[in-house]
């Protein structure tokens, strides 16, 4: 009997290793496409600079601890724990920051796979269900599910998503064996998750609360009350810590005000529609998950209660953001991003949907009776997952294409060779300001990054971009602002993204080839701008600012 168990364990271990290697391979695609030199998306560059500053100063820089409204992705930007983890890793390994951050999601994906396996195993007490869950999660996620645990997109979410099932797994384990040490582990990890990824903390806390309410109801014991009190105290203690890390309270206020201001300009966040959500999760997976729910209902298994609570809660959250009235009413409430940025919830919901789908696949396969037929059915499903994973691989590749920072390589090279380190550069694409700052290390005036959101003269900085890149402001104002911020170069690319404070709108779009040549001619009419670089192929232009004329 014991030997059989050992063989089963060994098989599971081999299965996990193979699945995780496959999952890592999918997630390596963007890293290979970026050749380890770039990071995808914009958020990773924000992390890169924060970690870079810790390495330079030896302290956490004065960052936001504000619970910002939705205006920017800043609601999710309170990640001291992640900065600290990565900076300590960088210090001890002496690895370069960009490749280290680029590869980190792979490492956290392995951790995520293991955590989810443990959660699925505790919740179903079946190794096959746990294996099928991580197989689906490794190969089947849609676009958003993949982005948040994708290589070259190093985000604090990578750690948060991995901690989430482990926090819940410890609770399920407590429920199964009444060992309070698991409760302690869960509380410890929950509290610390606040510093690493607050969204994980909030969602896991709500699920934990639901768990305790059910627990009180079923146990009706005073002991359980004290146990849960200790749990809450421990997680709260760790939650408070990050607030003391930020010494400059005025920055917090400034940051929140700035984020509110940006919100007032225009809705800037992405919300998934119901059809997109179904596409993200997959119709077949939703079908199987529904069958899985029926199994749970039939067997009334107490251990599956947290998975069920997770599925219901995350689905409800998704629905809240899908209804415009609810979304609009929440929009300016601090930290509302945690409840309405539905695309960031996808990887959390996905875990529960795939768990129930796996439960159905494995349990219904047993209806076939004969072991041989059963095995063929499971292998068939595994084969289908393999075939469908081409969509995931294609998504992974498209991610690399979408965030090809090296599309601007010609600009970076020119700036590197022809400008001084302290010369200020502005670009009509906000993201490009961040890349110029991170990749060629030249100062810029403004971006939607948190460092700029705490600048006291943010309104003027925003105005500078509108004055330079539109033709509605008079030249003397433009010149004054260029002098004030000592701007030496003005970059123009076909994609543009900046705020026009005069009309309170976000200017965003892409100039066509004809359009941009007219635009450049109009800019050249300004006697203080001289065309210094132009690339007709990519339509990239750089103007030198001559304020003496």
């Amino acid at each position: 009997m014991q030997r059989t168990k050992k063989v089963n364990n060994c098989r599971s271990l081999i299965g996990i290793v193979f699945i995780l290697i496959g999952g890592c391979a999918v997630r390596l695609i963007p890293y290979i496409a970026f050749r380890g030199n770039f990071l995808g998306d914009l958020d990773p560059y924000r992390y890169l600079r924060a970690i870079g500053r810790i390495l330079e100063q030896g302290r956490i820089p004065a960052l936001d601890t504000a619970v910002a409204p939705i205006g920017t992705s800043a609601t999710f930007a309170v990640n001291h724990g992640y900065y600290l983890l990565m900076s300590q890793l960088a210090l001890l390994t002496n690895a370069e920051l960009v490749p280290l951050l680029g590869l980190s999601p792979i490492v956290f994906f392995i951790f995520f796979g293991l955590s989810l396996y443990i959660f699925a195993y505790y919740s179903s007490e079946c190794e096959s269900v746990a294996l099928m869950t991580i197989l689906l999660v490794s190969f089947m996620p849609g676009w958003w599910g993949l982005v948040y645990y994708l290589s070259s997109n190093p985000l604090s979410e990578n750690v948060g998503i991995a901690l989430f099932p482990l926090i819940l797994a410890a609770l399920v384990c407590f429920l199964n064996c009444k060992d309070r040490r698991y409760l302690m582990l869960s509380g410890f990890m929950l509290g610390a998750s606040f510093a690493i990824h607050p969204a994980t903390f909030v969602w896991a806390s709500i699920l934990t609360l639901l768990f305790f309410l059910t627990y009180f109801y079923s146990e009706k014991s005073k002991v359980s009350f004290f146990v849960s009190l200790a749990y809450i105290a421990m997680s709260l203690f760790l939650t408070i810590t990050p607030f003391f890390a930020t010494m400059h309270l005025s920055d917090i206020r400034g940051f929140t005000e700035a984020a509110s201001y940006l919100t007032s300009l225009k809705e800037q966040y992405y919300v998934l529609s119901i059809s997109q959500l179904i596409g993200e999760l997959g119709v077949i997976q939703i079908f199987f998950a529904t069958l899985g729910l029926l199994i749970l209902k039939d067997q009334s298994k107490k251990r599956g209660i947290l998975a069920l609570a997770g599925l219901v809660f995350m689905s409800l959250l998704m629905l809240v953001s899908s209804f415009e009235i609810l979304r609009k009413s929440l929009e300016n409430v601090p930290a509302s991003g945690l409840f309405i940025l539905s695309h960031r919830m996808v990887p959390y919901l996905l875990q529960f949907v795939y768990f129930f789908a796996s439960l159905a696949i494995i349990k219904y396969s047993s209806l076939f009776g004969r072991i041989g037929v059963r095995k063929i059915f499971v292998l068939f499903v595994a084969f289908m997952v393999g075939v469908s994973s081409f969509a995931t691989i294609s998504n992974s590749y498209n991610f690399a294409l979408k965030f090809q920072v090296d599309n601007y390589n010609d600009l970076f090279k020119w700036i590197n060779v022809n400008t001084q380190e302290n010369e200020v550069i502005i670009a009509n694409l906000m993201d490009l300001n961040v890349w110029i700052r991170s990749i060629v290390e030249r100062p810029t005036v403004f971006s939607f990054s948190y460092e700029d959101l705490i600048s006291k003269d943010m309104a003027n900085r925003i105005l500078l971009y509108a004055a330079v890149y539109t033709f509605q402001y008079n030249h003397s104002l433009t010149l004054d602002l260029l002098i004030k911020y000592q701007v030496k170069y003005v970059v123009v690319v076909p994609e543009y993204h900046f705020i026009d404070p005069l009309h309170g709108v976000l200017m965003s779009g892409v100039h066509s080839k004809n359009d941009i040549s007219t635009y450049i001619t109009k800019l050249q009419d300004r006697n203080y701008l001289t065309l210094a670089y132009s690339n007709p192929l990519s339509s990239h232009f750089i103007f030198r600012v001559d304020t003496h004329t």
């Binding site: 271990l13 030896g58 724990g81 600290l84 210090l91 001890l92 002496n94 482990l166």
Partner: protein
């Protein structure tokens, strides 16, 4: 006292000695600037060491490899930032301070785990 010493040197404590060896290897590779060793050992130690030590402190009995590995990973994600906060308010986050505090806290937790395991086995026998 003698029995505790012989217990720590026995095969039962091989896992503790492995972690201690890794810690010392990390220290040596940082001091002697052996880059490849530092990269690999640094990764393994930071992502598993403190979590493993804490997990063993809490759970004296043997757990499955998967469970141990997962919780070690998870707890390291939690312990390392907490150490970072401590350094942020005191000595600052630099190579030396980070290395010493992570290695030292892992060793302290490990020592606690050995003591707990020793008394647990003593009680059993």
């Amino acid at each position: 006292m003698n029995s505790f010493l012989s217990y720590t040197l026995s095969k039962k404590c091989a896992d503790f000695w492995t972690v201690i060896l890794l810690g010392l290897l990390l220290y040596a590779s940082v001091r002697l600037e052996i880059s490849h060793v530092r990269l690999i050992v640094g990764f393994v130690f930071v992502l598993l060491g403190p979590g493993y030590a804490l997990f063993r402190l809490i759970f004296v009995e043997t757990k499955s490899l998967l469970e141990t590995l997962t919780y070690s990973f998870g707890l390291s994600m939690v312990v390392v930032p907490i150490i970072g906060y401590g350094l942020n308010f005191s000595l600052g986050i630099y190579t030396d301070t980070v290395m010493i505090s992570i290695i030292a806290s892992t060793f302290v937790l490990l020592f606690g785990a050995i003591v707990r395991r020793f008394f647990a086995e003593d009680k059993k026998s």
